[in-house]
Amino acid sequence: MSTGRGDVDAAVAGLRARWGAAAPSVVGALALAPVPAEPDETPRYDPRPDDRVIRTGFAALDAILGPGGLPKSASVAIRGEGTSGRTTLSLRVVAEAQAQGSVVAWLDLSRSFDPVEAVARGVDLEWLVVITPASLDEGLSIAGSLLAGRSVDLLVLDLPGGRLARTDKPSRIGDRLHRLAALARRAETLLLILDAPGLGSGLATAVAESTGIRLELARRSWVRLGRDVVGQRTEALVAHNRHGPPGRRATLRILYAEGGERDTCLARDALLMDQAPVHEAPDREIHDATAPPVPATPAASPRTRPTLRALPAPRSARTGRSPLEPGVGHRRRSERAGPRRPPRDAARERTPARP
């Protein structure tokens, strides 16, 4: 992947001879990106021959979509109730799209976008615009402008649930969604619509009718570390697919990395327990890119209860934090005794694209 220093110097010298002061400066981190000591989640720029597809970040899901991912001119609806993994999946798609050179806009109609979480999922904030419209109507107008301007490659429409999603004219909204989908097709922009729980039936129907791919996510089990819930297994069903065969399923395993000592436990499969119904046969488990790499030991069957290691006793709290019940799990972002993988500073640590 990395070129020799001499090649980089020669390339920069050539640029300076041609462009003078306008030539880009070489920052050491860009020219000589060190191989990270630990595998990280940031997708690497990988200009595969078929750049008409954006990968989802979950190999199993890419495999069942047909073209190996989400077509760039497609409109995709992701539906799921409760903690289904919709948002995690969407952010992984954003990260993958950015790694492929995309600019992304996130329409935060639900007022719940967390940039720190997004960065932890590999999203580069430098190439992300967050739109916070006052209403669904305004959001659709802004979305239309962005698509018509062909300024973004991926547009995520995070629909609000509950009161904010109610509309007196679902048919009008449906028309607008159809127009958005048409604009996205013309602009070769991937339109990702996150169906919110509690969306009115009119609006839900409008979303379904205006999208060419519909993914339905359903959580099948929690993943526990001791008493704490640290992840989930989610089944993704391709309910509708104009770009490939519908009806296929894949299981996604999502672990919530929150930093601190606990994350190292996530890498140790023997410590984790799937809380699945006994009668349900597990699908083939595919470890997704969000999970830390699994050590070379057989994965524990979800039906067996692995031996739990004793968890370290909580230390005395640093300023502002105190245990409520000694011995209860790991605290979120507790004292930083162990190395913490820092969230990505997107502005500085952007992985260079491969030429």
């Binding site: 109730e81 409760g82 948002t87 976008f113 819930v229 105190s322």
Partner: protein
């Protein structure tokens, strides 16, 4: 990945006879929950003091992060895991 509900909507909670949290009520729906993690945050005592008892709760549909504002005595929903 969690969703951060920036306005930290207020919720209602139900406790059992021993004072343990057993359910939360939000958006008109009741969700029985189990606590899987807890901690306390105290900040900014020199200006606008913040004192919150956080609880990570798991229910049938949601894994969520809630907290009790110990100064106001109210409960709020901060995050939803998704």
């Amino acid at each position: 990945m969690t969703r951060l509900l920036r306005e930290h909507p207020r919720i209602d909670v139900e406790m059992d006879a021993d004072g343990r949290l057993v359910a939360i009520r939000w958006n008109g729906r009741r969700e029985p929950v189990e606590i899987c993690n807890r901690w306390r945050v105290e900040e900014s005592w020199w200006r606008d003091p913040i004192a919150r008892d956080y609880a990570k709760v798991v229910g049938e549909r949601w894994l969520a992060l809630i907290y009790q504002d110990r100064i106001a005595g109210t409960w709020h929903l901060e995050r939803l895991y998704d």
